[in-house]
Amino acid sequence: MLRIAGHLFMALSAVVLALPIVVVAASALNSGRTMLFPPEDPTLDRFWEFFVTETVWTTALLNSMIIAVGAAVLAVVLAWPLAYVLWSSGSKASKTLAALGSMPFALPPIVFGVGLGFFWAFLGALGTIAAGIISHGILFLALPLVTISIGLQSIDRANIEAAATMGATEAMIFRTVILPQTLPYTISGFFFALVLSFNEFIVMFFVSASAYATVTLQIFNSLRNGYTPTMAVGAITFITVSVLVFSAVARWGDLPRLMGADQSKT
């Protein structure tokens, strides 16, 4: 009886969780200019518009991709040495730096966005793509920092000891033991940052200063003129990318462990 209730509750949660996503996705099939649900006269024309013909959306998509990839690379490049020093020395300085790096992610993003807006304005870089990449790179630094740290902690120190006794230098140990074992975690961190940057709105809103638009910004701009089915295609694209990325992480990495599940249970 309680088992059934549990299954029902999980099913209900899944339905509610999926509901707005399904509605947005279905609306993309509308042939007219208005969002109706269920869609009228379903067509795939909107996909063609979003990806090919409407420059507003193609530019926005390109901007989103450049910023997301750039920010994710930057976040990983900054997080790797930090996580490594944190793991190998555990010094106070590295702990402080790690806390510092996680700060923007923990505080309300709108405050960080306003601050970065002022910051880039002073440097004269407000509204440049580079400013967008760096802002997101810093904002999402916390994600690869966490995943890489989990990866480093999963290394059996006995392996390192063994390699050291056999005369391997630290550089060799790094290359042959540490790097291969943490690679899946590094890639996961990269993708977490990528996907969140792709979807981030408020920080980019202040940093772009309307000089360019990413897909989320473009959707917010269009929000005032009412929704169009083309916008919904953007949503479908995003959710597809996210599902693919996280499925890949689950397939090649250990997603439950990354999320903090107990290791001993399989």
Partner: protein, 327 residues
């Protein structure tokens, strides 16, 4: 974590090449410099500018005045007239965030518990779904709920079509909904309303709540639960006496984190809340980028939001530490 807490191995690997070590120090210093510039300076600027002055018809200038803070708490015309408009907006921000975060954690807790009882593969599938929904932009989520709740399509149309509206009218609950502002004379209407705002905000953080509760619940000692069950405890007794006490800390911790996260919600509020019930985040936007163009006052509001967030984060930590020490 589990395997490397052993202090015997916690020492760094032997430093056979000193220049390698000094190299890492150099890298660490460089990263430190980058972090200080990008993590500290923006917040510092917000604080510094919050004491600045607006120049009429132009931008703003550096100054050291408390006018902006005075305006936030008692209004610009104080002491002649007093207005609590901005305090009220902060109040709404707190109100929405409290309800939405508590609601999210309260519903995510049983869900997460059930999820951790599944097989590892099933958990991974659920996590993919949750993470995809978690990373979905606020903009899309608001769009989805907007379509669902808007009067022309979505739920109100469904209510009408299925005759649920008429049924509500027959049993008299329709008048109750009208009193709550959730219906117009013809049909139910969900926006603008606090209901829609809080529902969307809660939805926004629900996957986060699951992810935050997941580690604690998946490490729950199942033998305790089984022992209680064999001794004849009813499921609800087990939940109350075994499961809930052991996850009390993560539950409190996640609620505080999500609450702080929701304090700055912008898109959901602009779309779903009544303009009279807008929050500090909307007000910050209006000052910094919107119609009134008063960057120093925007910065002041951001500082106050930041302080509020920091206070609650600190409170959550203190609470954690206090009850952690008691155990």
């Amino acid at each position: 974590m589990t395997t490397i807490d052993d202090t015997a191995f916690a020492a760094p690997p032997a430093r056979s090449r000193p220049n390698w070590a000094s190299g890492t120090n150099l890298i660490l210093m460089a990263i430190g410099a980058v972090l200080i510039v990008f993590c500290i300076v923006p917040f510092g600027l917000v604080i510094a500018i919050s004491f600045g002055q607006k120049i009429e018809g132009a931008a703003w200038e550096w100054a050291f005045t408390f006018e902006n803070y005075q305006r936030f708490f008692v209004g610009a015309e104080w002491p002649d007239t007093v207005t609590f408009l901005y305090l009220q907006r902060l109040g709404y921000a707190l109100w929405y965030a409290v309800i939405a975060s508590v609601l999210a954690v309260a519903t995510a807790l049983p869900f997460t518990y059930l999820m951790t009882r599944l097989s590892r593969a099933a958990q991974a599938r659920w996590l993919v779904f949750l993470l995809a929904s978690l990373s979905l932009s606020e903009v899309f989520i608001v769009m989805g709920w907007d379509i669902l709740l808007s009067n022309r399509s979505g739920l109100p149309a469904l209510f009408k079509a299925t005759g649920l509206t008429d049924w509500l009218k027959d049993v008299g609950w329709f008048d109750v909904l009208r009193e709550w502002g959730l219906a117009n004379p013809r049909n139910v209407k969900f926006k603008p309303s606090q209901f829609a705002t809080i529902l969307t905000m809660s939805y926004l953080v629900w996957p986060y709540a699951v992810i935050l509760l997941y580690p604690a619940l998946s490490r729950l000692d199942t033998s305790l639960i089984e022992a209680a069950r064999t001794m004849g405890a009813r499921p609800f007794t087990v939940a109350r006496t075994v499961i809930l006490p052991s996850v009390r800390l993560p539950v409190i911790g996640s609620t505080f984190l999500l609450f702080v996260f929701l304090l700055g919600t912008y898109v959901a509020i602009t779309v779903f809340a009544n303009p009279a019930q807008h929050t500090t985040a909307v007000s910050i936007y209006e000052s910094v980028r919107g119609a009134s163009l008063n960057a120093p006052f925007g910065a002041t509001q951001a500082v106050i939001l930041l302080i509020t967030a920091a206070v609650f984060l600190g409170l959550g930590q203190a609470l954690n530490r206090a009850s952690g020490g008691a155990r």
